[in-house]
């Protein structure tokens, strides 16, 4: 075996390190730090956070963001498990590749365009309305577009894709003999799911659910175009602060609140992954 020539391999990571430190890590740490300062007062202060807590429009926006993200994770999970099961156990390998393509492909294009395309379908005189009128003859006003449920719906589609993909990628690695053994011992499909597939595919679900939560809680496009501007989520407020009032300490505080929410909601999930790894 030839010995590698003497070289400083770590030089290969330098460009990435400089970029990630200088344009990702430091900006985020600086932003978190900025939220702890106030123009008038020296030193660190929680003034921005108490101002946040005292402003009903902001706390309402935060609650909407949480409701949105949690609903999306729950709704997408309910649909993603059967879909992942289908892709893993009910189709041939070649077909599976095709079906994964079908599921993932639409999400390569921008969130904005996909959210916008839903406007036409869900609008008060859109396709759904027209179809309902054709079918029932009744002229019902949908009132669905520009509401929180419309945002939940829009982001759930993304969540279904992501969680299905993640659950599937864990499920597909399960040794089929474990399931056969379960069947030999008299287990039904349901017990196979509960006792073999569910625990082994759980890590995939956790990653998928965590990423879906992060995307849903930080998205502005779907809430702006489907949820409307009257009852904004936190991400919409952040967008308007940065492009409107340009109050940077305020933007920093909102960003920090978002970081805190993500850490608080996602950390327990990730601990769960470690828990399941230790068990198995």
């Amino acid at each position: 075996m030839a010995r590698p020539p003497v070289s400083n391999l770590w030089q290969g990571i330098l460009p990435a390190l400089v970029l990630m430190a200088g344009f990702f890590l430091l900006p985020i740490l600086y932003t978190l730090g900025l939220s702890l300062t106030s123009d008038g007062a020296p030193g660190l202060t929680l003034a921005n956070y108490s101002a946040f807590a005292g402003e009903a429009t902001l706390t309402d926006a935060l609650m909407r963001s949480l409701t949105l993200a949690l609903s999306v994770v729950v709704a997408a999970t309910v649909l993603a498990w059967p879909l992942a099961w289908y892709l893993t156990f009910c189709v041939t390998h070649q077909r599976r590749v095709l079906l994964l393509f079908v599921l993932v492909a639409p999400f390569w294009t921008s969130f904005t365009i996909r959210a916008f395309s839903w406007q036409m379908v869900l609008a008060d005189r859109g396709i759904v309305w027209a179809t309902l009128r054709q079918l029932t003859g009744a002229d019902v006003s949908l009132g669905f577009l520009y509401s929180l449920p419309a945002s939940i719906f829009g982001l759930t589609l993304f969540g279904i894709m992501l969680i299905t993909l993640m659950v599937y990628s864990s499920m597909v690695t399960i040794d089929r003999r474990l399931i056969e053994a379960n069947a030999v011992l008299g287990g039904s499909g349901w017990t196979a799911f509960r006792e073999v597939v569910l625990p082994l595919a759980l890590p995939g679900w956790i990653i998928g659910a965590a990423l879906t939560f992060i995307v849903a809680v930080g998205d502005y496009a779907v809430p702006s175009l489907l949820g409307g501007g009257l009852r904004p989520v936190l991400a919409q407020v952040m967008l308007s602060v940065l492009k409107g009032t340009y109050d940077l300490p305020m933007a920093a505080t909102l960003a920090s609140v978002l970081v805190i929410v993500i850490v608080l909601c996602v950390a327990p999930l990730l601990l769960l992954v470690r828990g399941t790894r230790l068990q198995s």
Binding site: L9, Q11, I28, L83, S117, G189, A252
Partner: protein, 260 residues
């Protein structure tokens, strides 16, 4: 293990889900050929007027050109930086390697909105003027995780013996990378470039926060959508969707293909 009735129900569930995901895009594509200014049914007449307008309206074509140039620079930079980084991650041992890997992959788990806001606050503090190159820098770190993941997988699959043979013949580390590793990664490099391009081309929020007056296509689309409706968006959206789909499919095909 799964009964025939359950299988049929699951098949139905899959295709209904897929149908719902594709429905609005189909609707947008149909309306992009409608002569009416608003989405009304039945469609009065079919026209390609909106498609022509995409190319003749200076604002859209300027945005398109900006986006193409920016995305090309961003994905070129991300592919090169990603390759260097991936090669070192596969071959080198250094203290803090796990922490570094986490740092490089971290943008995947942080909302882009946060990255955008933090970058705007940071660059303002540094006194940097918002500009397209600055936005490009931000986008590089957004697509870098994709590049590193793709290329790391590919490099790790390569048989070690080829590189060792080059070393035995006296090649330096860099020479061996250029003559052995890079050619073997051609398809993966191209796929990575295309994939990064797809995501950079559609990226909105970093570009929105880090530029003032230069307009990329996603920014133009966004401002048009929030300030009022323009039927040109239907045509543009359909084209952007077809464009992204083509790029994405090509990249995946290149990645799945068995390299010679």
């Amino acid at each position: 293990m799964t009964g025939p009735i359950t299988t049929r129900a699951l098949t139905l569930l899959f295709w209904i889900t897929a149908g719902v995901i594709y429905l609005p895009i189909g609707v947008m594509a149909v309306f992009s050929f409608s002569s009416a200014r608003y989405q009304i049914l039945p469609i009065p007449a079919y026209t390609t007027e909106w498609y022509t307008r995409v190319f003749t309206d200076g604002q859209y074509s300027a945005g398109f050109l900006n986006s193409i140039l920016l995305a090309a620079m961003v994905s070129l930079a991300a592919t090169l930086i990603g390759f260097a980084c991936a090669y070192s991650l596969v071959n080198a041992r250094f203290p803090g390697k796990n922490a570094f890997t986490l740092l490089v992959l971290a943008p995947l788990a942080v909302p882009l909105l946060l990255v955008g806001i933090a970058l705007r606050i940071w660059t303002t503090m540094l006194g940097l003027q918002p500009s397209l190159p600055l936005a490009g820098l931000g986008q590089v770190l957004y697509v870098l995780p994709l590049a590193v993941l793709n290329l790391r997988n590919r490099i790790a699959q390569l048989p070690k013996s080829h590189e060792e043979a080059a070393w035995a013949l006296g090649a330096s580390r860099l020479r061996a990378i250029m003559d052995v590793i890079l050619p073997a990664c051609r398809a993966a490099l191209l796929a990575t470039f295309i994939l990064c391009f797809t995501f950079a081309f559609d990226e909105f929020v970093i570009a929105y926060f880090l530029t003032n007056f230069s307009v990329t296509l996603p920014i133009k689309i966004w401002t048009t959508l929030v300030t009022g409706f323009d039927p040109t968006i239907n045509a543009l959206g359909t084209m952007v969707f077809a464009f992204s789909l083509t790029l994405g499919v090509t990249a995946q095909w290149l990645l799945m293909r068995k390299d010679p």
